[in-house]
Point group: C2
Chain length 194, copies 2
Amino acid sequence: VANEGTKEALLDAGARLIAAQGYHSTGIQQVLETTGVPKGSFYHYFASKDDFGLQVIDRHAREYDRLLERHLGDRTRSPLQRLSAFLGEARQKFEGCGCREGCLIGNLGQELADQNELFRVRIEEVLSTWLEQYAACFREAQEAGELRRDLDPRELAEFTVSGMEGALLRAKITKSSKPLRTFEKILLGEVLKP
Amino acid sequence: VANEGTKEALLDAGARLIAAQGYHSTGIQQVLETTGVPKGSFYHYFASKDDFGLQVIDRHAREYDRLLERHLGDRTRSPLQRLSAFLGEARQKFEGCGCREGCLIGNLGQELADQNELFRVRIEEVLSTWLEQYAACFREAQEAGELRRDLDPRELAEFTVSGMEGALLRAKITKSSKPLRTFEKILLGEVLKP
């Protein structure tokens, strides 16, 4: 249990440092100093900085998947109400962090997609998992009569993931959640219609 | 003239290096080696690395403004046809670069918005200039009867800039222009309608 605690503490510190300053600027030494974990322990859990970075991605992806599933799997609401609730919670989380950081996966994609093929592929897989969850929600919305059946759920999911990433980026740049609100308003009000 | 050439060569190399590897990872030394310009000359034109970075942003913004204006000011086409032509050319440019890099301004916003207030403000100003150009295009489209008048041109412009930035990010991650095509298809086909 203590060991799992140490590993979790390292991944947690890594996620926070990488979100705040990027992957290249985050050194293992800084992660060790933040957590008070000795270097030997780090290499007990992680083969290299890249191994550590990939595990930070996996852990963040699992957390985000759970949040997405908790909302999109909520049968007490209609499919598009679930999506709206999810977007609202994601926005509130961003506001709660002082409109900083944005999406860890998007940030790492921006920083590393041209430079590290291993990271690029992993990040593409993570985004593709989210995309599938949105697509499934849109198919349900079509079955429920909430969404036009002539639109392709997968293309809508792509459009949603892109729009969300771009709105988060603009929100981070403008230090305001308004870009997220505008994205939600037009996506839900103009694109996703019966 | 020779002096302006040197300054342009430095800014050009800076833009390429920053687009490829980010701002933090780009050292002045590397810019000097790439261009063969001596260090003293660099400091003749630029007070510091940040001054250099800000001028790289300004130069890129001017270039992009010209491209945007060339398309959105083309009176031989309807307002939304102009937008479509612009998005198509931006996509072809991205494809021509091997689906790398994406948007220099978006990349720098991602990397620096939480870390450097001077850069954040400048990047916000640049995005806001683009946003105004899109908003003007949407107002013209409304006057021409191409676009519903009950939609707010400024909100549509925000939605467009966000969507474009996010689609470019996903295109860079997936090494494909498909996210850009999907964005264009849904924006032009489903959001921007009479």
